[in-house]
């Protein structure tokens, strides 16, 4: 009997020991043990959020997201030697398919494979699915592919500075730089999701296991005002124009003056956004929104519009100082061709692009009113166009204006603007006196949902009557001004040339000029306003022989595209 009791007690003790041990492992050490083996059965994945696309106004693609791949090698598993592998891969990976190009690629691959102390090496980033398929067909052991997102530009380098590009930030994450990619980076990027689940030894999910999922939010698509036909016409003709006139560079902007929507924006030289790393930083800035220049005579229409709106002058007001050079302080104001037109009307002042006449107008307008109007026209402040990289040259402070500054500003010297500021200001003349904010994006779309961007109301800067008067002057300038030889009869063009000397170290360069032409058509109901500027054209210093013919070359394409018929004039 005592033996039975001892045995029973021992059984109970053993049982208690097992329970105690289980309690220790499962309750006390449970969390720690679970944590130490979690990596064996729990796996986490980042759910990628594809970057949004950028579309033209007809919803065709300007930039599209695409599946690209990173090609890598697991050195321990490679079936080929580094030399053999580089020989096999180079023909598929070399961008330059010449013998030298392929040899260079071979060297690069070999260099990557010869790294010591590592088992995994990346060979090439951003390879396309077609290249991936071709390489997979070789059935080489030890190489693999990791998906990575890429950007595809169906129109190559068209509108490159306007679109910007996607590079990497300091954390190695994709980030948009410059243009639309930079300005709308946050909405384009979306938000990646994350999934954590329990998996079996083969990596297959355990259905009754734990699953945590945070869904990815895809990037939003941008629909722009950009018209591909207009944009491509600008790209092609600007390149030809820059080459033909031997200019250092050039920019063109086409805008709908009624909405402020940018229909096209091109600068040359430009770059290929899909290979942005091959270009220097100077290519990335968009000169159309960031480069400031003295506008010269194209600015006369803004000063004249201000004087007309302030009722200081009317189109028939006679210039009392236009008989010869005008002495202001120690400076002498002369006309561009040293021809003087005594008692010319304000319309003639614009038609003849008369500096002395504009000096007369500026003096009559006075410093305070001039500054007031310039600020209203947006000179000296950013247009707030939805592109990254806009800059604005500051307007001289109110107290720093001298008599000479006032007079020279009358004909666009001693004052700096950017092309976008200028087209916006003259756009107000085309839009019956209402200044619009230039916009590139018209709406954001996410799946089937569409969101309009903030409404562009516009601000009145001059009266409708003034806008009609200054438009009539611009029509006369286009017909009878120095660029009359290139005028396209019947298309109701209002325009103005501008040849500006380039300021260098406190004086003006005697040989170099910036040539510009700004105009809109048809003047009674404009379908577009276009600004063309060429830096340092070599064939002729005059805008009437460079920027103006280029403006009309592009305009002739636009007349056709916008269904504009010539009318008897």
């Amino acid at each position: 009997m005592p033996r039975l009791k001892v045995f029973t007690i021992l059984i109970y003790l053993a049982f208690a020991l097992v329970i105690g041990r289980l309690f220790y492992w499962q309750i006390i050490k449970g969390d720690a043990l679970s944590a130490s083996v979690r990596f064996q059965h729990e796996a986490g994945y980042v759910i990628s959020a594809p970057r949004g696309n950028i579309k033209a106004h007809d919803k065709s693609f300007l930039v599209a997201s695409q599946d690209n791949y990173l090609l890598f090698a697991s050195l321990n598993e490679l079936s080929l030697s580094p030399t053999e592998l580089s020989n096999e891969l180079a023909p598929f990976l070399a961008e330059d398919q010449s013998v030298v190009g392929i040899k260079n690629e071979e060297m690069q691959i070999k260099e990557a494979l010869s790294r010591t102390g590592v088992v995994w090496v990346p060979i090439k980033h951003q390879i396309t699915s077609t290249v991936k398929k071709n390489i997979e067909a070789l059935k080489i052991r030890g190489i693999g592919f990791d998906p990575e997102e890429g950007r595809f530009y169906p129109e190559a380098s068209s509108a490159a500075q306007l679109l910007g590009f996607v590079g990497k930030n300091s954390q190695g994450e994709d980030k948009g730089y410059f243009g639309l990619e930079g300005y709308y980076d946050l909405v384009l990027s979306g938000k990646p999701g994350f999934m954590e689940r329990e998996e079996d030894v083969f990596g297959d999910p355990i259905l009754i296991g734990k699953v945590k999922e945070i869904g990815a939010i895809e990037g939003v698509d941008l629909v722009t005002y950009i018209d591909k036909t207009v944009q491509l016409a600008l790209d092609v003709e600007l390149k030809k124009g820059v080459e033909k006139y031997g200019a250092k560079s050039g920019s063109v902007i086409v805008m709908d003056p009624m909405t402020g929507g940018v229909l096209g924006m091109s600068s040359y030289p430009n770059y290929d956004p899909s290979k942005y790393w091959e270009y220097g930083n100077e290519f990335f800035l968009n000169p159309a929104i960031s480069s400031s220049f003295e506008p010269g005579s194209v600015f006369k229409v803004i000063v004249m519009a201000s004087a007309l709106d302030a009722h200081i002058v009317n189109p028939d007001t006679k210039c009392e100082t236009c008989y010869g050079p005008l002495k202001v302080d120690k400076y002498s104001i002369e006309t561009w061709n040293n021809v003087y037109h005594p008692n010319s009307s304000m319309t003639e002042v614009i038609v003849n692009s008369d500096n002395v006449g504009m000096a007369f107008t500026a003096r009559k307008l006075g410093e305070e009113r001039m500054l007031d109007y310039l600020k209203k026209f947006g000179i000296g402040s950013r247009t707030e166009i939805d592109l990254q990289g806009e800059s604005s040259p500051a307007l001289r402070s109110d107290k720093d204006w001298s008599e000479v500054d006032l007079v020279t500003a009358g004909f666009g010297q001693g004052i700096a603007v950017t092309p976008i500021q200028l087209i916006r200001a003259v756009g107000a003349i085309a839009n019956r006196g209402i200044l619009m904010k230039p916009k590139v994006v018209s709406e954001l779309t996410a799946g089937d949902r569409e969101f309009a961007v903030d409404k562009n109301e516009g601000v009145r800067v001059i009266s409708q009557e003034t806008s009609s008067l200054i438009t009539a002057m611009m029509v006369e300038a286009a017909k009878h001004g120095e660029s009359k030889w290139t005028y396209q009869k019947g298309f109701k063009v209002a325009g103005k040339t501008g040849t500006a000397q380039i300021p260098i170290a406190g004086h003006y360069d005697a040989d170099k000029t910036n040539a510009s032409f700004i105009g809109f058509a048809p003047y009674d109901k404009p379908k577009f306003i276009m600004f063309v500027t060429l830096q340092e054209p070599a064939s002729s210093p005059w805008a009437s022989e460079t920027a103006a013919p280029l403006w009309y070359t592009i305009a002739r394409k636009l007349f056709l595209y916008f269904d504009m018929q010539p009318e008897g004039e």
Binding site: D67, F152, E155, S158, D204, P205, L207, G490, R556, L560
Partner: protein, 106 residues
């Protein structure tokens, strides 16, 4: 009295057998259902993996088709191809008034 005792003994024996049989059945059912459930979830898991793989294939195919569409919608390429095929832009444009008659019969 003895007969009653024997009967009682037999009854309690039957009851014990019945409890044992029931417990055994429950235990067997439990084991079988656990096995069946495990097989079922394993096969479901397999189906989920299959569906996951199918989804990925479809997504990749869709992306490739999208890419093809984007590539084909390129105006630059269309321009190049039309030039190769011999299409050229007219260098001079003639505008005709809508009311003007062309080759009108007398």
């Amino acid at each position: 009295m003895r007969i009653f005792k024997v009967k009682k003994h037999l009854e309690s024996g039957n009851k014990r057998n019945w409890v044992l049989l029931s417990s055994l059945s429950v235990f067997v059912i439990l084991i079988i259902s656990t096995v069946v459930f495990t097989i079922y979830t394993a096969s479901l898991s397999d189906r989920v993996i299959l569906l996951d793989k199918k989804e990925l294939t479809i997504i990749l195919a869709n992306n490739e088709l999208n890419h093809e569409l984007v590539e084909l919608s390129s105006l630059t390429k269309l321009n190049e191809e039309s030039n190769l095929l011999g299409f050229i832009r007219s260098s001079s444009i003639f505008y005709i008034k809508s009311e003007e008659s062309i080759a009108k019969l007398p």
